[in-house]
Amino acid sequence: MTGFLFENAWMIPALPLISILLIGLFATGSNARFAGIIGSVAIGTAFLLTCGLGLAYLSSAEAGASAVTWSIEWLRYQDHLVVSLGTLIDPISLLLLFVVTSVSLLVHVYSIGYMAGDEGYSRYFVFLSLFTFSMLGLVLAPNLLQMYVFWELVGVSSFLLIGFYYTLPEAIAASKKAFIVTRFADLFFLAGILVLGFFVHQWIVDAEWGGVTAAAVQSASAVQALDFATINSEPVLAHLKDQPGVLGLDLLTVAMLLVFIGAAGKSAMFPLHVWLPDAMAGPTPVSALIHAATMVVAGVYLVARLFPGFAASGDALDVVAAVGCITCLFSALIACTQTDIKRVLAFSTLSQIGYMMLALGVASAEHPAGLGAAMFHLFTHAFFKALLFLGAGSVIHAVHSNDVAEMGGLRKKMPLTHATFLIATIAIAGVPPLAGFFSKDEILGAALDGEHHLIFGVGLFVAALTAFYMFRVYILTFLGGHKSDGAAKAHESPPIMTIPLVVLGVMSVCGGWIAVSQFVLPGVELHAHLLVMGLSVAAAVVGIGSAFWLYGGQANRAQTMAESMGGIYRLVQNKFYIDEVYLFVTKMIFRFIAAPAAWFDRHVVDAVMNLSATVVRWVGARLNVLQTGQVQTYGIWMINGTILVLLFLWLVQR
């Protein structure tokens, strides 16, 4: 049974794929209502398989073991560069599998209610299943290229889902933006793959030629340059570290930085974060699944996957830490000023992912605790953030507005939603003993252990900010009086939507008690920092307190505060004008590259081609004039010809 589960781990991603086919074939038109059920059943089965797999892993394998349990040759570039599709089972992939299948299942179920009656109902579930399939494939990838393949696929399914309401211009714009920005980042990922592919391949070939069999890495002939096992192996990393790269960096750092840019794009790290807030134009369950719980953490997952590489490089890891740090601070600040509930959550997501990156960044080969902490936070964050989004969805569903200014007082109207939302808010704020507290605490601890004091400080500050803005939203949404008709008429969502909320609520409460870090990094000692705990709880309390002080009472206190900040507030509220910068750059590209290219093509390149035709005709017309009809002129030409032939023969040739 255990072996069976391992060898057939491919069935986990395959199930959503089957569900796509089934929905596509059968659940169209009048049968559309079955789409949700088919999708949910498929993903439910996948979830069960995942659980079985996890149990089997826990029971059979030694802790931290990693194995490719199944693979088929997929794309043969050349020897040692053969890409297989396979399933890599190790703690982090299992962790992610669990997160993805569980959240996806809940979102599927939730969506049955949320999307009911939408004309694109079955299309929605096709896309959702497509996403789930891709994400699972990504998680299970045993090599960089499979990762990239599914990386792109999640990107495209994200694109499709953001643009689900395809008649809305902002949804279309957002979907394009999301795709193009991540695509831009993927370009660097691909470049990283090229770099790694070439140099690792070269190493393998050299090793073969040099008599050193590739056994140094793995069993001989099957060594493939893009396998994680190969890339992450000591000799390869050492080799890469020795090679000169560009800009004075060593090759390993260059490669890892390139890959990291890809990761940053997908995980919406500063400055590639611009797509995520806009992506909220998609259906809310999609935001919960893709843009909160799973896809956006793919970047974190990627860095974790290549952690030995990052760790060996060192510099690359510092960049990760810095980027994570900036992002979490920056987006937390923005989150404090937004009024669209989903946008607040989006910036919150950014901030939390920044947290995870930060955690990875503070880890090192000697002190890998940050890695575990990042994974832990990924795990807990998935649940409470999904819960927040689904709760927000429930609210939006009821109020028909995203703006917190039009909500308020929903505590009574939607008790279940309120309760679960509150749980999630507390969890994210880092109040013990809910999930967020533990993971966040571990991150801060890791930062302190790694002697990254500045980062620790920022982390602490962001923790406070997080508590602040989350409670701000909570207060504005659920407390106080109704601020609009929609809020007044709101009522609780149907059970199909609330049950997932409850389940997620339970996970948000209990998630922190699962020893994820030990699972991910068996054998690494983790010691609790009482100091850190105390500081983080204090930060949470400060945040919550200030939120209540500012928004709990008379509303104008916040107003006054904002006004007193003046320009800074506006700067933050407008997201530091980063979007505008991008817009400007894009316009410049259009105006100064694309338009000239098109113009150049029509009016220079093509004109030259046309000119040659014109010249031919012009010369023809000129020569035609020689045909004067004067017979004596013709005769003169004839004799001229004779003389010329003679002179040619006589003078030119010998």
């Binding site: 031919v616 020569l623 004839m638 004779t642 032939v645 006589w650 030119v652």
Partner: protein, 487 residues
Amino acid sequence: MYIQPEIIVVVTAFAVLGMEMFLPPRQRVLQTPVCLLGLSIALAAVVYLMIQGDGNFLGGQFLFDGVAGWFKVSFLLAGLLTVLLSADLLNGRFKIVPGQNRVLIHRGEFYTVVLFNLVGSMFLISATNLINLYVCLELATIPLFALVAWRRDDPLSCEAGLKYIILGATSSAVVLFGLGLLYGLSGSVDLFTMGDNLSFGPATKLAIAMVVVGVGFKLTLVPFHMWAADVYRGAPLPVAAYLSVASKAAGLAFMFQLFYRVLGNVLLDVSMALAVLAAVTMTLGNLVAVVQANVKRFMAFSAISQAGYLIMGFLDPSGAPSMVYYMLVYVVTNMVVFGVLVFYLNETGREEIEDYRGLSRTNPWIALVMMLGLFSLAGIPPLSGFVGKFFLFSVASKAGFHWLVAVAAVNSTISLYYYLRIVRQMYIEPGLGDDPPIRASASIVTALAVSTVLMVVLGIVPFFYETIYEQTHNWIAVAGIRGGMAE
């Protein structure tokens, strides 16, 4: 005796002349079939002789070999097709358009002169001495002056004749001067002896330059080509067709005689000059053809450029088979196109390129044949024009004239441009109203069918080229003395 084809043609000519004299006008229609019959028998006789093998007559005054045979086949084919194409005009079957005078009279005399001219060309390729060569050249030329001016009521025809004869006589004088020099430099009039005796001195160069005038005049090489456009335009269309093929083939025969037999020793020395001549000819012909509006002038320039391709074969001694083959191909291909031109001019009185609009709707088959003919001229596979051109280009390439191959190939493209202009009118442009299909006469249909089939078959069946290749060995051997050393 290897002279039977010529005798048959002469006999036919006299028979036709006799019919003109002794038959009442209404029965003179029979002259056409008699003419066709005679030419066909002559053709059969040539083929028979070719199967028999080489030989000579009158102690070697008259030489028959494979190459001569193929030339005669070309001449006879050209003659046959010309007779077919001119039948409608002579029968008075054409549309009368005010302001145009297209009547062609004196059937018997017309055929006689054409046949005499044909005999001249046939003797030309069999001649073994300079005197015979010269006289045959004159016979292959002077009757053409008369044919061009045949339509005596048409001022344009007379004008064309005037131009043609003035330039023709001039060129003949110059060529005679050159032949005299060759005679003086070699001390002999026997072509083979002359070839053995000649060396490449300045006087030889002068002689070459002068005979090139004659060759260039017949083959329409630039700058000796200028008569062509005006003469084609003014001459009766079947005569223009005949000029463009038979006269050109005669020019090639003359050139073969001169360049292989007399100048064989120095052939490689003049190859650069020939290459330049070829390049200039094809380029100018094509460029000017691009801007023509009248199909006759257009075909004149097209023919000029074809001559440019043709003489590429002289760049390497091994080019003889390519040239003979291309000449054969060119004769049938050009006759396909001229056949359609004659058909359309006779039936509608139209001769501008734009007048061909919509032909594919009214007469799809004729349009198809026309298109194939034009494509073959442009060298589009799998038609014989492609194969022929390919072999010629190969000769130039073999001789190392890669630049010339490039020029020639680009020229083919330019030529495709103007050929496509007609195709465009026929296929793309809307027709001139709802014209009913035009009925083609039997003679035109026969001519088109024969030439089209030949045009396709020549390119696909390797027999023709291979046979020519086998038979040109002795010509190359004559010329190959220096060629062999150069390699």
